[in-house]
């Protein structure tokens, strides 16, 4: 069944497979729930069996035996290597510089990788009140390398985000600020900042701090990508064509990692 389905796959599956490739074996990754969690577990089940997963809930070195529905799921506790307080997660692991890879998404992102998970519209009278930072701000500040997973649309890939919740490569805000245009070094941000953006259409890298489309998925055109981006997205001269996910990865995702189809 998996094989017969492998020609038809969802964008979320393509994103998970491509995101998994960003993770190396024996890397320490700060995992969020949803697609990042699927990508990490796919990497573990394939090329990165010793991928080391840490959750902001305090679970360190997890071995979940079901798909965790929240970052505080009890399956992340049972059989983990260590449970620590959230103070330790933020002070010792994140601020202490031990997190190699962070994963974030958001409602909006700009060309510099600034992310908004706070409000749509004006902060004091928002059109949509989003959940807020959670751990996103400090993950973006401290991770040695940040991966962003987001579906592309002109509403989400915007010229200027309504609120900068998590810092990208350069500060760019709707709010009047003397910091406009300053880079990470000016803010003394210790982490490496956004490195790769995995979307449902292709993959972007940052060149001189700005997103550039470097990979495009099988069956997607650059016009589609451009139409899905709220600014004039730069496109690499050597654009890599990403093949469809193979049957093995799809089977793993569908039958083992997310059999209840919670996130795919």
């Amino acid at each position: 069944m998996a094989t017969s389905n492998s020609n038809a796959y969802k964008p979320s599956e393509m994103m998970s497979v491509r995101a998994a490739q960003e993770l190396k074996n024996r890397e320490v990754v700060f995992v969020g729930i949803g697609l990042p969690n699927l990508a990490c577990n796919l990497a573990r089940a394939t090329h990165a069996p010793q991928l080391f997963m840490i959750y902001e809930s305090g679970a360190v070195g997890t071995l979940p035996d079901r798909l965790p529905v929240s970052i505080g799921d009890p399956t992340l506790v049972t059989d983990s290597l260590a449970i620590v307080s959230q103070a330790d997660i933020f002070q010792l692991f994140l601020q202490g510089g031990l997190i190699e890879v962070g994963f974030l998404g958001g409602a909006q992102v700009d060309r510099f990788g600034n992310l908004n998970t706070t409000v749509i519209g004006d902060y004091d009278k928002p059109k949509v009140r989003l959940p807020g930072s959670g751990g996103a701000c400090e993950i973006a500040v401290h991770s040695q390398r940040l991966l962003i997973m987001m579906r592309m649309s002109p509403r989400s890939f915007v010229p200027t985000v309504d609120f900068v919740t998590s810092p990208g490569t350069k500060f760019h805000s709707k709010r009047p600020s003397s910091h406009e245009g300053k880079d990470r070094q000016a803010f003394q941000l210790p982490g490496g900042g956004p490195r790769t953006v995995i979307t449902d259409l292709g993959v972007c890298q940052f060149q001189n701090g700005e997103m550039v489309l470097t990979e495009i998925y099988h069956g997607v055109t650059t016009d589609q990508v451009k139409a899905a981006c709220g600014w004039d997205l730069k496109i690499a001269t050597r654009l890599i064509q990403v093949p469809p996910p193979d049957a093995k990865h799809l089977t793993l995702l569908r039958e083992k990692l997310d059999p209840l189809n919670l996130y795919l």
Binding site: G58, S70, P74, Q86, K125, S133, R184, L189, P190
Partner: protein, 320 residues
């Protein structure tokens, strides 16, 4: 929007050493939660004491400043009940499912009953509790550079390292009037032992003026003393101890019952409309006297579905 005055923390405290603090939830809430309080019902996914929130709603204790990293369903219920004037938080949502609809109805337009919001990131909230627990008025952290967060919250300030001259963010101490923590087991003095996720339970209890410990099991002090490294909250901080099995449902207690993920999913529909929300209150909050009544209403299939399968670890040796 935030407009906090920074009082000196009243550091000198009277430790609480009564030997039997066990009360009903009704008594404990009536005694320790006051209108206008800064309230913290702690728990990060794990150990969120819904039973305490429901009792606060039944007693209609209002004007609250509700604080927590992750105000979730029970905080939304306090808001829908009109008891919250201000919410201090870092992530407000129904994890993995959707929004907090009572909050959205009160924050997306200036409606009557609007709730004032004061927001940090998770680390900022943790740092506020660290300061509050450690008796310092501020806590330094390397955070918030290159974001709009300090611009939206004037309580985030800066301090200069006297060694490197580098600037760091600070947040002010948070000292709740009342912290409520749920745990697997506690003795009658309130010595509480917790395993699985710890959240900021310890810091929240040390930072608070009053503390209620709610426990799945009340145990003899000798069991606490047999494994002292497991004690997260010493009884000398604790005002009341409540014995409340299943007090966290739909949240969970490691070793006792699983998270009711189905409930969190269903909640999205219940909470979207005021009518269904109020119907829920009528049935499961005002329609019952206490948590026992709630569990009777929920039915034994709930227990069958969520009761934890045993997974016991070995003990360790404290001999010398």
């Amino acid at each position: 929007m935030p407009n906090q005055t920074h009082h000196e923390v009243d550091r000198i405290r009277k430790p609480k050493l009564e030997t039997n603090k066990v009360r009903s939830m009704k008594e404990a809430i009536a005694d320790s939660v006051k209108a206008g309080d800064t309230l913290l019902i702690e728990g990060f996914t794990h150990l969120i004491c819904f039973a305490a929130g429901h009792e606060i709603i039944r007693q209609n204790i209002g004007g609250l400043t509700a604080v927590r990293l992750t105000p979730d369903l029970v905080y939304d219920q306090l808001m829908e009940a009109g008891l919250v004037k201000k919410l201090v938080f870092s992530w407000a949502g129904n994890p993995g499912v959707g929004s907090l609809h009572a909050l959205r109805r009160r924050s997306e337009k200036e409606a009557a009953g609007g709730v004032v919001l004061e927001e940090y990131s998770h680390y900022g909230m943790v740092a506020r509790l660290l300061a509050g627990s450690a008796g310092l008025p501020f806590w330094p952290l390397n955070n918030y550079g290159g974001t709009d967060i300090p611009g939206a919250n004037p309580d985030i300030a800066r301090v200069r390292c006297p060694y490197t001259q580098k600037e760091f963010a600070t947040v002010p101490a948070l000292n709740p009037d009342i912290t409520i923590v749920h745990c697997q087991r506690a003795d009658r003095e309130g010595n509480a032992q917790v395993w699985g996720l710890l959240g900021t339970q310890k810091e929240a209890a040390f930072a608070a003026k009053r503390v209620i410990v709610v426990a799945e099991e009340i145990v003899d002090t000798s069991l606490i003393r047999s494994d002292p490294n497991r004690t997260l909250i010493p009884g000398l901080l604790v005002d009341h101890v409540v014995h409340e099995p299943w007090g966290c449902h739909p949240s969970y207690v490691q070793g006792h019952y699983d998270r009711d993920n189905d409930f969190y999913v269903k909640w999205e529909d219940i909470s979207r409309e005021v009518k269904t929300y109020q119907d829920y209150f009528a049935e499961f909050v005002h329609g019952v006297k206490d948590r026992r009544g709630y569990m009777n209403k929920a039915g034994s299939t709930l227990i069958d579905r969520l009761k934890a399968k045993p997974r016991r670890c070995e003990g360790v040796d404290y001999g010398y």
